[in-house]
Symmetry: C2
Subunit: 281 residues, 2 copies
Amino acid sequence: MNRTSLVNLIFSKKSFLCIGLDTDLSKIPVHFLACEDPMFEFNKAIIDATHDLAIAYKPNFAFYECYGVKGWESLTKTIQYINLTYPGQLFTIADAKRGDIGNTSQQYARAVFDPASSGMDFDAVTVAPYMGEDSVKPFLSYPDKWIIVLALTSNKGAEDFQVAKDTDHHLFEKVLSKSREWGNNANMMYVVGATKAELLTDIRKIVPDHFLLVPGVGAQGGSLREVSEYGLTRECGLIVNSSRNIIYASKGTDFAQKAREEALNIQAEMEQHLIKKAGTL
Amino acid sequence: MNRTSLVNLIFSKKSFLCIGLDTDLSKIPVHFLACEDPMFEFNKAIIDATHDLAIAYKPNFAFYECYGVKGWESLTKTIQYINLTYPGQLFTIADAKRGDIGNTSQQYARAVFDPASSGMDFDAVTVAPYMGEDSVKPFLSYPDKWIIVLALTSNKGAEDFQVAKDTDHHLFEKVLSKSREWGNNANMMYVVGATKAELLTDIRKIVPDHFLLVPGVGAQGGSLREVSEYGLTRECGLIVNSSRNIIYASKGTDFAQKAREEALNIQAEMEQHLIKKAGTL
């Protein structure tokens, strides 16, 4: 999906909500456990209940990989279902935090961007920057695909290296400045945790137009209002993720309805933030 | 595998060779392409031909993931084959470069360390440090399992952040100093690229006893002599990886024999380096 289509999607749905599919067998309603593929069936139900309110879905690869081959089957079926059922209507993010030397990153890129090889066709993949330019660039060779580079994450460990205080520039600022040269605002985004909303003003000075994928709203304690205030651009420029708050809104048979209600609450707030920024929609 | 068993393995085989299973359908002998599972059959042949010369195997996950579910099947069969056929005789490394927030890293750990969940039971996994302590620690909760933290990688992009020159301490030195506190020399190792052998002396000042996994010897240009000179400890302390030079030593039907010859050359040189360090074996 290219940048224009993504922006259009956001303004037509009046939403910049991404739903994280951190699907956990111990948290989904028990009646799914009788299905042949509980993770896929749960994902399908969540997607069907929320697809008009969300602009993106983000399967978290770890939650599938922990079940080995069977988990990869659920993951593959999930992305195929989205692409077949809602073509052009949803942006899809492989939350895999990949990155390795060049010839290896090429293979990781095939895994998420080359359906003829892997069966999976995502719009974007999250990438760890530690190994530098040649670990990131192979992901950029696919037209209309995106990489989302980890800049400032939402967890406590972000303080260990990303915002270490002993230099003039934080590491995450160096990552932003340097990696900006590797691509452009139509093929790169950044992960910026909602729990660090006060730093968004500084981040917007370095990457004024790039989309930011913002995890950490909800279960991790980040504020949608703050993120929107400091992060929104004229073309939105934000994709805000919520996982557990939505997909586990209820453990009962009403889980899909409750997930929809939660998504609707967030979408309604997002619409107000978009209006506030744009004057009108 | 615990540290004592690993050290014993090294001195009994007089080798610290790890063979990287970067198995690529476009590079393996063509006769494998007629097999139902070419990647697994190729790996099996390489392992059988070299298992007494190598102390470790390191499947590179990207090369399997690029084939989606089918690739994960080949990967799973490979690790199961090693564990069943050569129990206690080989150290196994999941070269996956994983890392995410705590609850997600927990799932990544299950994928490689919990065979009841994923079907896979590796001894170690490579982990990216960018997200800090809580992204790494979940991997340390498995007894006799290891994490191998990326410190100084062998690629050009290592210069972008790991050895950036604008601070008192390089990032890779901070990673070593900080992460050292999260585990110990019996459950943590570090990736240190052979192409940066001149920095091994500095690294040994920070982590004198930790094992280092050293990629980059061979195809990437690193020198085994230099790595051994600067990196070996009394308990060896090194696992040196070679991938392409061994597994693609020939594209013909003699590939396994040629792989063995190449592994034997490296093992023989390693034996000399071990003798030089220890006085005797």
